[in-house]
Symmetry: none
Subunit: 210 residues, 4 copies
DNA sequence: TACTAAACGAGACGGTACGTCCCGTCTTCGG
DNA sequence: CCGAAGACGGGACGTACCGTCTCGTTTAGTA
């Protein structure tokens, strides 16, 4: 999350402008909305932010990492209010996620940085830390809460629990992303209802599997 | 699939070299493997193919569409042999798809072109025609076959059938892609088994939903 | 002058279209007027002439030689009517030449092909044959006529005669071209009168020199 | 002379490299000598100068203007030492100019840029400022000196003086260029003697003309 | 009248250079 | 020491022409 490559050990000289940081990230999101990922340039972001290009490179090593940071904050909105039932919780978070993917800056940036990350290990780490783990936590919280409510059997083998969490995460996130970006069709409540139903029905079968 | 932007209305002049077409697509895949999406250049592809850069641009309007065509043929390998049960069929096709996503050319290219397609309607169309529809057909075939075997209830409302097909497609494809590229974890038989189980268990619930 | 590179030894097969020849030369002049030398392209000339590019290259080896041929015919208008005195003859031919250099096709083409000819011997030969010698003959005729009229002393050493002819040619043609294209100032009657006077006055001194 | 298109109003940012300027102009002359005008490419000049192509385009808008600047400095060598008589001065400067036109870089470039200038007003201005005016000054100086020596009548109508200066300039420069590049024959001392005699003899006649 | 061979239009081909854009780095000056 | 300004070397872009080539189609003269 911290954009500084070196955490400012020395204390001498002019300190970095914190205003610049937020201006840059805002400018990056604005540029993503207007231009999309592939037309976004560092020079343009710098101009929009009223900042020199040098200042960008002092903080982020390249365009990819800058964009990840700019987009990551949007994932902070995702939360999991207790709606009383697992199915309602699932439906709610899926709709939140879908709303996020409808924003043009997310749409154009998410797949792009994932694509780049297949060949760029530091980028993959930053994505995991900034975005993926943040989403995954929702799955953990939802599952734990459902167990507390007794909707799901408590305390089986922890390894299995992890595996099922992972599965659910990939299924939910993957399905929503695929629906929104690849199939390019709307993630409307009817579709979400079907997805939730599929999960509710399937989870039991998976748990039995062990 | 056809790379020609206009389907050659007139019959006059020197015909386009079909050898060039295949050489270019092969060169594109090779470049994807070696360099990845973002380092791939049109000039490099032309050189590898033993072809002039102009020849590329005569056939494809830009790098994105070229890459879609180059990668699309890989999706031809996906097929759906009858393994006797829906769960086996699902597991089989998921593993095939996962194997496809392990190939570096697919890995680096797929997300990238999807990302670009969010801002490029012709590209989105080409992706749908060349890749998405080809995969979707597998879902249709698998579902029809399961109905013939009596594993799934036959002939409900056709609109519902379509909706469930779409859901299953996005869930399966999305989950696999997300697992492989975003979570960056292996799509191994254990994970596939859990995914299949989830689907088998959930499908009933979704059908009831109508 | 003849555009055919090989003078058609065989007599079989379809003969070349003579209409194409004139259409091409006219199209070349038109393109020169509209676009100027450096923007003129073979493809454009072919299109204007309603002819395939191949047809151009069958007749001329390159753009330079084509342009020389296209422009050369304009130099046919230059003639030397007997106006009764050497000074009048000079003034007349200079004004004719100046008028030729005011035409945009000559203006843009003449210096360009001369520039190219400094590195292209065949082109230099073609220019000499098509343009230079045609102009030089005017000097010879004018000088001979002046001798017949007794304005110039007859029959000195023929070598000297040649040398003076050459000098006069370079002085007259050079001065007009330089005035028109380099100084970019008008070749008006007053200037021509001064040039003629200079020549008339100077010729005696040169003849004495021997 | 100055290569900068805008004379750098602001004083901020990294200043332009003056070493690059001279390296580029030297490289341009070298390329002219080796390749000639029409084979000279911006990329090649950049490589020879050890400079990026962008650096060229930052300073000159196109090949023509670059070449004018590169060649212009050669005209600095032209000077007019006082040899005691007008005829000697003329002969001397003509031979100097002829020597200049024998250099391959001048030969191939001079006519070419003049040809281009017929269609390019900024280029024409640059040529006038960098080359033409520089030569014209020699005529003025020579004439003034001859007047001081009493070889030419002093102080007639200044308009006439200007007109004769212009005439002499076009006659001398035009004759030499035409001899060297169009007739493609040597500007040897004998020819120069004849030209000088022609001028000496003719100038009186022109002056009388008024 | 049919054959034959060259010339024709069309347009794709391998190339080369163009002039532009952006990259990520550097060099300057002022705060 | 930071930051703006902007020049730097580098490299890819997509375009425009070059001059050549391969097609199928005329078009004369000859057989």
């Amino acid at each position: 999350m911290c954009s500084r490559t070196t955490p400012r050990s020395t204390r001498t000289g002019r300190p970095r402008s914190t205003e610049a940081d937020v201006a840059i990230l805002e400018a990056t999101r604005a540029a993503l909305v207007e231009l999309g990922w592939s037309k976004l340039t560092m020079g343009d972001v710098a101009t929009r932010a009223g900042v020199a290009k040098t200042t960008l490179y002092r903080r982020w090593p390249n365009k990819n990492e800058l964009v990840v940071d700019a987009v990551a904050v949007l994932f902070d909105e995702l939360e999991l209010p207790d709606l009383g039932s697992l199915q309602a919780d699932i439906a709610h978070v899926v709709l939140q996620f879908a709303a996020l993917l409808e924003r043009p800056e997310t749409q154009t940036a998410l797949m792009a940085v994932v694509a780049e990350s297949t060949r760029d290990v530091p980028l993959r780490e930053r994505i995991r830390a900034s975005i993926v783990d943040r989403q995954k936590r929702l799955v953990l919280d939802g599952r734990r809460r459902a167990q507390e409510r007794g909707e799901l059997p408590a305390d089986p083998d922890p390894v299995t629990v992890d595996a099922i969490d992972d599965l659910v995460f990939d299924v939910v996130a993957g399905a929503v992303v695929h629906r929104a970006l690849v199939s390019a069709e709307p993630v409307d409540p009817a579709w979400v209802a079907r997805l939730s139903a599929l999960l509710m029905g399937g989870l039991g079968a998976v748990a039995v599997l062990g």
